[in-house]
Amino acid sequence: MNGRELIYEAVSRSLVDCELTIEDIDAIVIGNMDHFESINSADTWSVEGSGGVMKPIMKINTGGTTGTSVAIAAYYHVASGIFDRVLAIGWEKNSESDTTGAIITCSDPIWDRFSYSGAIPSLATEAIGYLKRSGATQEDAARVAVRDRTHALNNPYAHLRKPITVQDVMESPMLAYPIKLLDVCPRSDGACAVVFASEEAARRITAKPAWVTACSVRHSLSWFGDFDFDAGLLSLARASREAYEKAGIKSPPDEIDVAELYLPYSYAGLKWIEDLGFCPQNKAPEFVWSGATDMGGRIPINPSGGVISTNCIGATALLRVAEAAIQVMGRGGERQVPDVVNSLATGFGGCFWSDVFLMSSCMP
């Protein structure tokens, strides 16, 4: 199928899921990364598939964070009071392009492009900084990849659904030290559609909506050299702090019941959970090895399998929101965490940017 048809599939299924028709949708927000499919103005190009004919539709593009930026836009469309039911769509057909070739063009052509060879090397640089300061090992990171890939077995939608072991990760080809093939996400084709609704409209659709309690974004940097590779992921620390405050969350690992985190590579699953306040600085390896982030643990992370199992970029961050919402709504089937009240979704991309999205079964 082509991109438009992929979108049609996700949108039709989302409508069936909430028992609405396209006529019930008041506005659409859609996102993907232009150069991955070489479509200029993908919102106008894809209307036939998105259901946008004779509707308001707009395109949001913020790189890897696109999906959460789209979710946040859909939220504000409803929060404005102008629209009651808004469709958020994220999609990508990575198979249609040379993804690395395209992503290299995100770097500044004068200052950064000659040395920027894709997402993996810059993340590798971050990983080295973390290993140095925390004393963590490659095996510690591998444990994160094993967790996410194991969780994917419960998710019929995940791209990679074969279990792996720490040894498998350690023996996989080195891409850019210390990132090995199995430490990092695949390139996937996929689309995700999520329906946002106002209070009144939501109550008519389902008895158990996932209420949005806070969203926060930090996309501060433009140049890779400005990022402090030795410090934490500042954007995530700041965005999460703001979001927790808005949502009244004081102790994240106690009050958040499940987290769908945008972890494009395993080392992020160590470093960034410290920035989220799940555990103290440099203590992530023991936190992860203790099983605290596995299904049944204190704060399960990525019951869906996360980004390491599926990465269709424009959709990926929206999938985190969708999966976190599914958890609150109790519709996770085999990947459901029991008794979820609060869930957290994050987006990552661009120049070490972060988006944070919190939901709850209790209306704020």
Binding site: M1, E5, E96, G101, T105
Partner: protein, 150 residues
Amino acid sequence: MDWLVHTEAVTQKGQISLPYRWWVGETGSRFLTALRDEGKILGNRCPSCATVYVPPRKNCGACFREIDDWLELGDEGVVTSHTVIRFPFDLHPAPVPFAYALIRLDGADTAILHVIKENLNSLRNGARVKAVFAEQRCGNILDIEFFRLI
């Protein structure tokens, strides 16, 4: 800001060349292979509003439902809009002057964008045209090389 006055405006050239391979999708594939292998133009019809689409679509944008009703259209139709192109551009399929036209094939409800190369002086909206297929076809919209006034 004194220094501005004396500073040369440096520029740097660059070009982005990226290869792409688009999935046409099953619906489009059926259309293009029919062009290529049979020299036939196919369309499909929405079960709700009966709009006949050329090129065919997986779903109707207006009714938002899947389309599965295929039909073969002839190779003749009517020009609904046209423009004679006189400016040069690398991607043009022919040297100027040539024309773009929106052509509604007999039996279709939507018009297809294509090219008319000859008899530009006689080109009018409402004129009848016929598809001219290329000798070598490869499953591309240019398997129809152009439309000719009849």
